[in-house]
């Protein structure tokens, strides 16, 4: 049987199986900083002397706000809901039609679902990105 012709887009996978489509995606990078100002970091002369604050980045983190759809039941919505409840690793693949793109691995930090369309759930979630890799060519 020939492979299903995939459309370009962003999909969410659990254990290698697609469980949802991502329709909106916003990535945010956060940098944690630390004040490392020393005695020498001053400007001017007394009594007008002031400290010039110096910071360094000590941690970089990335999160993504997602919105999308999933199938009702075990094939989608239940799997996503369980993953959010248990902190299970999920993978987000952003893929072009040619098969290249990015793969983000992490877990859901919150998950909200709405079931107003028959057979389809719409959901929004926040995703903590732990690793990122290129896929395809």
């Amino acid at each position: 049987m020939a492979d299903y012709k995939r459309s370009a887009g962003t999909l969410i996978y659990i254990d290698g199986l697609p469980v949802g489509k991502v329709n909106s995606f916003t990535r945010t990078r956060e940098v944690s900083e630390e004040d490392v100002t020393g005695f020498e970091d001053v400007q001017g002369t007394a009594p007008e002397q002031i400290n010039v604050l110096q910071f360094i980045a000590v941690a970089v983190g990335e999160t993504a706000a997602l919105g999308g759809i999933s199938l009702e039941g075990d094939d989608g919505q239940d799997a996503l809901s369980d993953a959010a409840d248990s902190g299970q690793i999920v993978v987000i693949k952003q893929e072009t039609q040619a098969g290249s793109g990015f793969e983000l691995t992490g877990f859901l930090t919150n998950f909200e679902e709405t079931g107003e369309i028959p057979g389809t759930y719409t959901w929004t979630a926040n995703f903590r990105v732990n690793s990122k890799s290129k896929i395809g060519s």
């Binding site: 049987m1 697609p18 759809i69 369309i117």
Partner: protein, 158 residues
């Protein structure tokens, strides 16, 4: 426990991708439906609830809408209502028939068939203006308060 990575069944992956595409299509259709309104069913319901008015004229019965057609409301506001200064100096609204719009007004109020019957009959303009038109507009809830119709009230049987 083995560390061996589970390789997903490609057929299962393809099946889910196909179902997800279908689900996405459903979601798109649902959103389109949510943004649109279909009034046809509502109009059917509305017409069921509101029975048409029946008028009898020269032995024939004619069906009229139970409420004023929207197009007629717009026509009246645009063409037939005029503001004039009364004898007390205050502005008041009066109902007039512009000469060049009489035929259009008749058809809009009576409907084409009834208008045709009225126009081909020998009844006087005063009867049409003072009896028929105020009666129909009155049944539609429009207040017609011309001086002439106040002075010459004609009883309508039934």
């Amino acid at each position: 426990m083995s560390d061996k990575k589970v390789v997903p069944d490609q057929q299962e992956v393809d099946r889910r991708l196909r179902l997800l595409d279908e689900a996405e299509e459903r979601a798109r259709e649902y959103q389109t439906m949510e943004l649109s309104s279909d009034y046809d069913e509502a109009i059917k319901e509305h017409r069921k609830r509101k029975q048409p008015l029946i008028v009898k004229f020269q032995g024939k019965r004619y069906e009229m809408p139970s409420s004023i057609p929207f197009s007629l409301s717009v026509f009246i506001m645009r063409e037939c209502i005029q503001k004039v200064k009364g004898s007390d100096g205050k502005m008041k609204e009066i109902f007039v028939f512009p000469d060049d719009k009489v035929l259009e007004f008749m058809e809009r109020v009576f409907g084409k068939q009834f208008a045709q019957a009225v126009m081909s009959s020998d009844i006087g303009t005063d009867f049409v203006a003072e009896v028929i038109i105020p009666d129909i507009l009155g049944k539609w809830g429009l207040m017609v308060n011309n001086n002439q119709s106040e002075e010459k009230k004609t009883a309508i049987p039934g």
